[in-house]
């Protein structure tokens, strides 16, 4: 009896100590006096997305260094806090929470995939912080705490399709994508758009493949077959990162040349091409808002500084990098305008902020938290760069809610007073989507 009692007491004692240690170990180290402004970097450095996101981490670090060289912001130095969400979506949310709650960062630059953004959204809303999201995406979103510096579908996909119709006389379309939300939505929008332009349903082929799909023999053969129906055919590719290399390799292998069936891609940039021998791909297209080959003094200087920073004179630049840079500069400007890093002050201050982009114009943050962008169409060259064959004359405003989709055609976002709403329904005149 006695034995049992002491045993239980001992156990309880150990338990208490254990729990306390556990709690303490996990608890934050108390933040010492803030001499710096912390900037969170939430990009995967390992796992499947590291391939794309690591560069963006470097870009933010580069921008922080540049800004500090200029004297920082509000007289304080910036300090980047890097975490690795490891391409794991729940971990994105956890790390976002850590950045905001424990590290007390003023702003976060991060995410690549839509799912990672969706995963962190509730955290940013709950903790009222700011996220800059630098990647082209499917739209259908506008949140108070998020600023989207990548393209919405109308800033990338639709101009690309227009180009193919006008310049290549394309009549038949293959919409090939990885099976996730960005291709699904973009293709839905494109399908509606093409039909509105008089393209018949049988002239549209839609194909989805899983992530990392590596055996493209059948699908490329199908595309070839579809393309031999006597009408000029093009492929609109929303194939995601990893699957692109084998896709293009198979195109080259099966001898599909850009002059026969051009492929226009929305997720293939300089970084992705760096891993492919592009000689067989010359002439295939990509639509972005920035190319490394943009011929402006701003871009030239940026590339020079970037290569100096990264200590690699072959390192390429790409569109999401430009979007990160624009976002960063907008944030700096807005903080200086607001005189504080307080999100509630910075968020309204960001609307209307205009900064030079790298293609020679200015990009402005619109009330829907998306930015204005030029659209560039480039053809792949044999050196892995793009030859810009078309550039929209002006800047295009993002349609965060696509007019081509059933659910969103009546929605708009405007984060200014009095609307202050990300999904205002112009029909019902109410905030909150379709309303009751």
């Amino acid at each position: 009896m006695l034995n049992l009692f002491t045993q239980a007491r001992r156990a309880a004692g150990r338990a208490a100590v254990g729990a306390a240690t556990l709690a303490l170990a996990a608890a934050s180290v108390p933040a010492h006096a803030q001499e710096t402004i912390k900037v969170g970097v939430l990009h995967s450095l390992s796992g499947t997305m590291a391939i794309s996101e690591t560069t963006l981490k470097d870009t933010v670090l580069f921008m922080v260094q540049e800004q500090n060289a200029k004297g920082g912001v509000l007289g304080k130095k910036l300090e980047a806090v890097v975490v690795d969400p490891a391409s794991n979506w729940p971990l994105f949310a956890e790390k976002a929470r850590e950045l905001i709650e424990k590290e007390k960062v003023a702003v976060v630059f991060g995410c690549w995939t839509s799912v990672s953004r969706k995963s962190v959204l509730p955290v940013f809303k709950e903790l009222n912080s700011i996220l800059f999201y630098p990647v082209q995406y499917e739209g259908e979103e506008s949140e108070r705490n998020v600023f989207y510096t990548g393209a919405a579908p109308n800033q990338q996909a639709i101009p690309a399709v227009d180009y193919l119709m006008e310049n290549e006389g394309v009549k038949r379309w293959v919409l090939a994508g990885t099976d996730y939300v960005y291709p699904r939505t973009t293709n839905k929008i494109l399908e509606a758009y093409l039909k509105s332009k008089g393209v018949a349903a049988e002239d549209i082929m839609i194909n989805y493949t899983p992530f990392g799909h590596s055996d493209w023999q059948t699908i490329v053969a199908d595309i070839k077959k579809f393309g031999s129906a006597g009408k000029k055919t093009a492929v609109v590719s929303t194939i995601n990162g990893d699957a692109n290399v084998p896709f293009y390799k198979e195109l080259g292998n099966q001898g599909i040349k850009a002059t026969d069936i051009p492929v226009v891609a929305f997720s293939v940039g300089e970084e992705e091409l760096a891993g492919i021998d592009t000689k067989p791909l010359v002439g295939h297209l990509a639509a972005w808002n920035y190319f490394q080959s943009v011929d402006t003094p701003e871009n030239e200087e940026f590339i020079k500084k970037w290569r100096g920073y990264i200590k690699n004179d072959k390192r390429v630049t790409n569109d999401p990098m430009e979007a990160t840079v624009i976002g960063f500069e907008m944030w700096v400007k807005a903080v200086e305008k607001a005189g504080t890093t307080e999100p509630d002050k910075v968020i309204p201050a960001l609307i209307g902020v205009s900064v030079p982009n790298l293609s020679g114009g200015f990009s402005t943050m619109m009330p829907n938290h998306h930015i204005t962008k030029p659209v560039l169409i480039g053809e792949i060259k044999d050196d892995g760069q793009f030859d810009i064959v078309e550039q929209t004359p002006g800047l295009i405003v993002a349609e965060e809610w696509s007019p081509y989709l059933e659910g969103s055609k009546d929605l708009i976002a405007d984060w200014r007073s009095p609307l202050n709403c990300g999904n205002f329904n112009v029909k019902t005149g109410k905030c909150g989507g379709a309303g009751q």
């Binding site: 450095l45 390992s46 796992g47 499947t48 590291a50 391939i51 690591t54 560069t55 310049n167 290549e168 099976d179 989805y208 493949t209 899983p210 990392g212 799909h213 590596s214 055996d215 023999q217 059948t218 699908i219 053969a221 199908d222 070839k224 077959k225 031999s228 129906a229 006597g230 990893d242 290399v245 084998p246 390799k249 198979e250 080259g252 292998n253 099966q254 001898g255 850009a258 002059t259 026969d260 051009p262 970084e271 992705e272 760096a274 891993g275 492919i276 021998d277 067989p280 002439g283 297209l285 053809e379 892995g384 030859d387 064959v389």
Partner: protein, 532 residues
């Protein structure tokens, strides 16, 4: 690239045939158009050049194709950039004295097509039959009506039967969908095109205008039906070929695992990383060749194969000596340890080479394709199948015929007995693991040709590899061969019906059910197995 500097003899072209088009415009006007650097103008200029018959036209078109046609100055003029960057007058080919700053005339897909058509039209009269053949095909592809008179002219004179039939096909391709062609002419064209029996012919046949006469339409419909039947058969063969090709990739990925896992019983989660290391070895070899001896590029894969084998084999031996050897008889712990090793290797490569894809080029003998009937076979895939089978045969030979192979089998079958017979089991273990890893490395060389060379490369093969080995029967190399090939073919036969994703899911379910039927795989080893 389509066109060498073959000098066009103006006399050879029937001037009468071209008179209708080229009257108002001249080469000079075309050059002025080229200098505006607008795609529309460039395209128009090309069609003028194609029909001009001017001896300089060939040179101008090929310069444009090669990116050596430049413009500059005020008003803008066009030059050809010669060797060493000197600017030449496009007509006289003499160096110009007051060279302005220049930029290349821009080219896009539309212009590229026009270039192809123009150079085709221009080289239809080349003395080289191979050139003429190419030109005939190019003209056929362009389906440019303007080329019709020229085609007719050369067709009458052509003597080479191959070129002649290509010319006839090109003519038919143009005529078939053209308005204002006589019924007989069109039906003849349908016959010529229909005889091709391929996908392109189908496309052409479908382009018969809707307002054509019923006889024409019937002829076209009959030809289409014939071709479609034919193609359906070939399609099935093509799918089997794709399946074998996928199977060979699976075989390559799995065969090293058949050694480390199948024979040694190590649940080797780092197997995929060995494949990745092999691919990176290829990348390094190619980089070195590019910088030091570009002439050897076509040999890069041949050079990389033994190096990849040795390098990954060495890594394998190191892993075996430092980690695996403490874990024999504890197969599950090898899963844990090799999983850790795979994380370390991935991150090591990420740190050394960066997280992005690396470019591994294809040597010329692996590019392109050829056709057997309607079966299109790409050289790259063919070589991978050949390579996979060679590796398989070589491995069998090593295990069956060599001393070390005998010792490996002895050790895996009865370690104690082998040891007591004087076999250095430690050494044999290291060699076996090294062999399996080395083979994975060689697979990496082949896979670098069709997949991403990135730190994640290995992860995408590990599940399939295990599936193949288990499906085939652990410890049986023939099982791995049959397993890989049957999974590959089954996948490719399912894909056209179910789509890529559902096809793969269906295949996984089939494998799961199959294992219920044969709990030890296709070729179960009777008696002793790795689980003993």
């Amino acid at each position: 690239m389509l066109l060498a500097l073959a000098v066009l003899s103006a006399a050879a072209l029937s001037a009468a045939a071209l008179a209708g088009r080229a009257e108002a415009q001249d080469v000079g006007g075309a050059l002025a158009q080229l200098a505006t650097n607008k795609y529309d103008d460039t395209e128009a200029a090309l069609s003028v050049l194609a029909l001009s018959g001017d001896p300089a036209a060939v040179g101008i078109v090929s310069a444009l194709a090669e990116g050596r046609l430049v413009f500059g100055g005020t008003p803008p003029r066009v030059f050809i950039q010669g060797e060493g960057g000197a600017l030449l007058d496009p007509l006289t080919r003499q160096p110009v004295a007051d060279a302005p700053a220049v930029k290349p005339v821009r080219v896009n897909n539309r212009v590229r097509r026009a270039i192809e058509a123009a150079s085709g039209a221009l080289s239809l009269v080349s003395p080289d039959p191979a050139k003429r053949l190419e030109a005939a095909q190019a003209v056929g592809r362009s389906r440019d009506v303007a080329a019709l008179p020229a085609l007719d002219a050369v067709l009458a004179k052509e003597t080479d039967p191959k070129v002649k039939s290509a010319l006839a096909l090109a003519r038919a391709s143009i005529v078939i969908g053209q308005a204002g062609v006589s019924e007989a002419d069109r039906i003849a064209a349908i016959e010529v095109v229909g005889a091709q029996g391929n996908q392109d012919a189908l496309a052409l046949l479908r382009s018969v205008p809707a307002d054509a006469s019923p006889a024409v339409k019937d002829a076209a419909a009959a030809a289409i039906a014939g071709i479609e039947r034919n193609l359906a058969l070939w399609g099935a063969a093509q799918n089997v070929w794709y399946g074998l090709s996928l199977g060979s990739v699976l075989l390559l990925a799995a065969i090293g695992l058949a050694i480390t896992f199948g024979v040694m019983g190590v649940i080797n989660m780092a197997h995929g990383e060995m494949v990745m290391l092999g691919a990176y070895t290829t990348f390094v070899v190619q980089e070195l060749i590019r910088t030091h001896n570009p002439g050897l590029f076509d040999w890069s894969l041949i050079i990389a194969i033994p190096l990849a084998f040795l390098f990954t084999g060495l890594i394998g031996v190191i892993i075996e000596r430092t980690v695996i050897r403490f874990l024999y008889g504890r197969a599950l712990e090898t899963l844990l340890a090799t999983w850790g090793i795979s994380l370390i290797l991935q991150q090591a490569i990420r740190t050394l080479f960066g997280p992005t894809n690396r470019e591994v080029g294809a040597p010329s003998w692996m590019s392109g394709s050829f056709e057997i009937g309607q079966l299109s076979i790409t050289y790259g895939r063919l070589w991978i199948i050949v390579f996979a089978l060679l590796v398989f045969v070589a491995l069998l030979a090593v295990l069956r015929l060599t001393r070390i192979g005998l010792e490996m089998r002895a050790v895996t079958q009865n370690r104690r007995m082998a040891a007591s017979m004087g076999i250095r089991t430690n050494w044999v273990d290291a060699m076996t693991f090294g062999l399996g890893s080395g083979i994975a490395g060689m697979a990496g060389v082949a896979l670098s040709q069709i997949d991403n060379v990135s730190p994640n490369l290995g992860q995408s093969y590990i599940i399939d590899s295990f599936l193949v080995v288990v499906f085939g029967g652990v410890g049986n190399l023939w099982g791995t061969l049959v397993g890989a090939m049957s999974l590959g073919v089954a996948n490719k036969l399912l894909e056209p019906y179910a789509g890529a994703v559902l096809g793969k899911i269906a295949l996984l379910v089939i494998v799961i059910l199959f294992i219920q039927k044969r709990p030890r795989g296709l070729f179960a080893l009777k008696g002793r197995s790795i689980e003993a």
